[in-house]
Amino acid sequence: METKTIKNESKNTKTTERIPGSEAVVRCLLEEGVEVLYGYPGGAIMPVYDELYKYQDKIHHVLSRHEQGAAHAAQGYARISGKVGVAIATSGPGATNLITGIADAQIDSTPLVCITGQVGSHLLGSDAFQETDIVGISTPVTKWNHQITKASEIPEVFAKAFYIAKSGRPGPVLIDITKDAQFEEFDFKYQKCKGVRSYTPVPKTDETSLKAAAELINNAKKPLIVWGQGVILGKAEAEFKAVIEKAGIPSAWTILGASAIPTSHPLNVGMVGMHGNYGPNVLTNECDVLIAIGMRFDDRVTGNLATYAKQAKIVHFEIDPAEIDKNVKTDVAVLGDAKASLKDLLPLLNANSHTDWHQKFKDLYKIEYDKVIKNDLHPTKEGLTMGEVLKEINSQTKGEAAIVSDVGQHQMIACRYAEFNKTKSNITSGGLGTMGFALPAAIGAKMAAPDREVVMIAGDGGYQMNIQELGTIFQQKVPVKIVVLNNEFLGMVRQWQQLFFDKRYASTEMVNPDFVAIAKGYHIDAKKVSERKDLKEAVKEMIDCEGPYFLEVRVEKEDNVFPMIPTGASVSDIRLE
């Protein structure tokens, strides 16, 4: 490898040992503190699996039922723990099956190290059996990737991979290792990586911009904070809370920012974006200073950019310089790590309460409550709503659960109504919107945080995209709680068909199997609920269950998620019905 890296010479300096590349791979993982990895074996990675067998008392390999499941499980592990998730697969189809998870991790800034086997180096480019150019394929969806053809490269490449995955704005990296490099013996010695010459993980925070930001915030009459996952990834929750409490600023979150402060915090005014709350969306176009913290102005958050917060001065706290002015032109950009920047910002801020401004959020909440929330959480109609299921889960888990949601209507409902008391509790596929994410991600989350209640919530569609991971849950005895909100539709797409395609329900109606029987087939306790009177007891049985549990809830078939900003509309044109 040509790149200059800084090596940590301290405690890891040992005399060398002669071992094969395959063993070196496992030793590297141990050096990086990896306890669990998710994967699936095959020809080109068999030497590494042989070593995983020998080292099984030191490192736990979880056999998924599909490599996509392994990648999402590694993501769930990383999202709840803040540690690097590790996935491993064979060459060819094994490697390509990882791609959706890698792309998901890239857009949601999740630290992953993915390891793939490759055909022998003498066969590269010969269209050998199960040869695929995974380095080429993964390039646009990885933060970094590398192909190893010599065993001696293994320690340095692994050290660099872990460093890159977790430093700065995290992301997935992929290491492809030819089979001959796995067999080759070399003198193993591991040194952790402390820096890469061409890579600045955290840009320097400029004091002038920090002061300019403080001045704008101090002079604001109607400031609004929108925070994203940067607060969580930067472990800046406490600093963030101190800032908003001192300055008294109403604060709204993007989906990935959810749970950084408790849902019940008085300054938490809810979610922004397409199905976010009425108040923060409407008032985005009324605030005088918009302070974005660790978020990237995704189009699902901003709606039409031409009419997004045009009246406001924009302050952007961000670790990734490429995000500055990418979608929204900023007035003040504060580059750097959220934790450090917010800590330095705090003493520069004046104490404030913005009572009148805050009242506006409360007034709009009242409107949203009467039009939408009341009917979602306390329905009077016969059919069950997704919202009331969430409400029941909230009350029985006391807001302590991590909610792992899939993609669709149930996801929006979960994000809107789940109550969070702890950070890193909203695990969902935000940027890529990957159906099939939740079930495997819940496995990883539960394994990383065995003391936490992990409740997976999926739709009948997305659940079936990685339903095979029930096998992993069964084999590993992972006590996740699996909730399927069954509306017998690809509900979110059906909602759009109803609203924008004159109710032509093209291929969105689902004819579903007996989900309870399937769960039971994997020896997982399971129940189905179709009536309101049985809901509470069923959720209780699920929460009380020591092992994994499957609960199907039949919900109203054609409910819609509101509020909604139609595509191309302005955030302030959000519809309540």
């Binding site: 040509e2 200059k4 646009p140 061409s198």
Partner: protein, 176 residues
């Protein structure tokens, strides 16, 4: 900021890495942008490569793309420049029938006036080389094309900036 397309020359200092060209070109491809010309070579700093690209995009697009390029782990620094900020050259080679050299007197003059150079002559063909700005090469092409060109190729642009690039100081800051 102007919404009109302009010609920009992009200089990218990088570690010498196998996959990097792919990473950089993917950034343009993903945004449906055409790379007009591309050159890779060693730079003035040992072990550091330099990519020189020419693109026709708006300045705001250019700024965003530079951000995406610099974000790549193995990119040390990327710059973009307008035509006035750089000195550049392109190079081209023509292969033509040898008879023309004797039958068509003007060819000798064209070669002389355009500061081109004859690289080799044999019985069948001769080869002309010319380095210069894009317009000069375009002109020479038009003039020679009248007589029939057997083969023609031109290189990507190479460029240096009029102002200093503080790349060496940046690299010194990295302690080994």
């Amino acid at each position: 900021m102007s919404t009109e397309n302009k010609q920009f020359t992009v200089s990218i200092y990088t570690e010498n890495n196998i996959g990097l060209l792919n990473r950089i070109s993917a950034i343009f491809q993903r945004r449906h942008m055409n790379i007009e010309s591309l050159n890779t070579s060693p730079s003035e700093i040992e072990g550091v490569s330099r990519f020189t690209l020419v693109v026709n995009i708006t300045e705001s697009q250019m700024k965003k793309v530079i951000g995406q390029i610099e974000k790549q782990v193995e990119v040390i620094k990327a710059y973009y420049h307008t035509e006035g900020e750089i000195i550049y050259q392109e190079s081209c080679i023509f292969k033509m029938k040898s008879d023309l050299l004797f039958d068509e007197r003007q060819i000798q003059n064209i070669i002389k006036e355009s500061n081109a150079r004859i690289v080799t002559v044999n019985k069948q063909f001769f080869v002309i080389e010319k380095s210069g700005r894009k317009e000069e090469i375009d002109l020479l092409y038009r003039e020679l094309n009248v007589f029939g060109i057997m083969q023609f190729t031109r290189s990507g642009r190479v460029a240096v900036t009029k102002d200093e690039m503080k790349i060496s100081t940046m690299l010194e800051a990295f302690q080994h």
